[in-house]
Symmetry: C2
Subunit: 295 residues, 2 copies
Amino acid sequence: MDFTSWMFDIQRRTEVALDRLLPAANQPPTRLHEAMRYVALGGGKRVRPLLVQAAGSLVGAAPAQIDAVGCAVELIHVYSLVHDDLPCMDDDVLRRGKPTCHIEFDEATAMLVGDALQSLAFSVISDPVLGGDPCRKLEMVHLLAQAAGSRGMAGGQAIDLGATGQDLSVEELEFMHIHKTGALIRASVMLGALCANAIDDSLRMRLDLYAKRIGLLFQVVDDILDSAADTATLGKTAGKDAAQHKATYVSLLGMQRARSLADELLSDAKSALDGLGDSAARLVEIAEYIVERKF
Amino acid sequence: MDFTSWMFDIQRRTEVALDRLLPAANQPPTRLHEAMRYVALGGGKRVRPLLVQAAGSLVGAAPAQIDAVGCAVELIHVYSLVHDDLPCMDDDVLRRGKPTCHIEFDEATAMLVGDALQSLAFSVISDPVLGGDPCRKLEMVHLLAQAAGSRGMAGGQAIDLGATGQDLSVEELEFMHIHKTGALIRASVMLGALCANAIDDSLRMRLDLYAKRIGLLFQVVDDILDSAADTATLGKTAGKDAAQHKATYVSLLGMQRARSLADELLSDAKSALDGLGDSAARLVEIAEYIVERKF
């Protein structure tokens, strides 16, 4: 199967799995459940589930478990977008080509949607029906909680908040992104690998190095896209970083050097997988896709 | 040890345990960590940790595990207060006698504080250093996630949101509180009991019945206090429910019948524990304390 077909297949599987995991829209509280489905279904590149799938397949994990873990990570990601779009944060009105949650519903509902999606992620990943080694499952819960928390994603958003209007160095920008985007990307790869019953330390280190590089790569490309694309292509408000005087890789390095950095991170990510052969092909393709994506 | 001494002891232990579990205020992002400590430390009746302790002791669980589980539940409770106080929700400026998080810090920080505290709760309860049966631990993660989510606490807040300004029946009010406050109170008792290696179904049912009754009891008393007390005594803004035209047990039943309902729920809660003898004494005392508390 070529990469695009594989990607569409995983995106479709993720959509089906999320649809099953989310409470029905007619179950009370209906407005909350409707809003949770509005933000979690019908869109998104599903980069994190793709990573969980690619890493999970590499270690030969069970598909049902990979699907569930992919959904858990995606739910954390979606919750963070909903909260990030609120007026007190980025104050954005457009996401994935649709009005953001607080615009379509209201601010209080958007806050509760994010809160409930985070709980749902931990409910999904700890669900006893999933089976698998409970020690390993517990390790996965802990890893996801750490990646989402104040020393991971939420912490990255706090750093971002404090950095708006400030002059950042490239090192400070990198520190922010390692937390804000990197922590959950890295967790996606490790969670996929943890779906196996056992992985050796050498493979763990390789995957972790790969994950760190593509975590940053993802953000560098995001900055390039935000600077270059228009709102219709992007599906979210373009040029916001510049408008809010936020430091980006493009504002600090210039477009040319930002592109070179992306090439370098891609090359490093691929090198980390050297010697793993065909089993790592999807991970390589995801890294290439991150660079080439036009949306 | 008399109840008051025991309660102070658990409150002190919870404070020490939370202080240890929360990231240091000088660890970046410092403002976020400072705010997390501001809301989680130095106050609170710690009713949920008391319940975890009382149920955990009843089944002979290990103290270190009970402490950690009590902290996890309390972190979920504290996060919900922080989000509930935000302008888009209850818009409150006073909590536990101090300015609320978004007043002392800012709205965006308060939102991230809540988000990060929820992650921390799941990190604490899944921490491998805690030991114990991993299957049981996973069940605890799942139970806490369900209690916190859209079919538990967050769902109850959504119902509350939709109910403001509406005429509710006593049944609708009860449905709301079973979710908003009841789910986490109930989870506290069950999580305490799950700290043991095994509990039989009969004990589980008794504890669950007790927990359901005191969950409602807690809310009925809260409504009585909100209606009767003044702000200084309460440590949070008094009379808000009436000011916001929110249905309460007092507004629907009148003070006298609300007090009778409280007596009835207390009596039911105690009956559920009949035959458990001295080992359930603390649970009985907590129920009595909920009714008698003056703050």
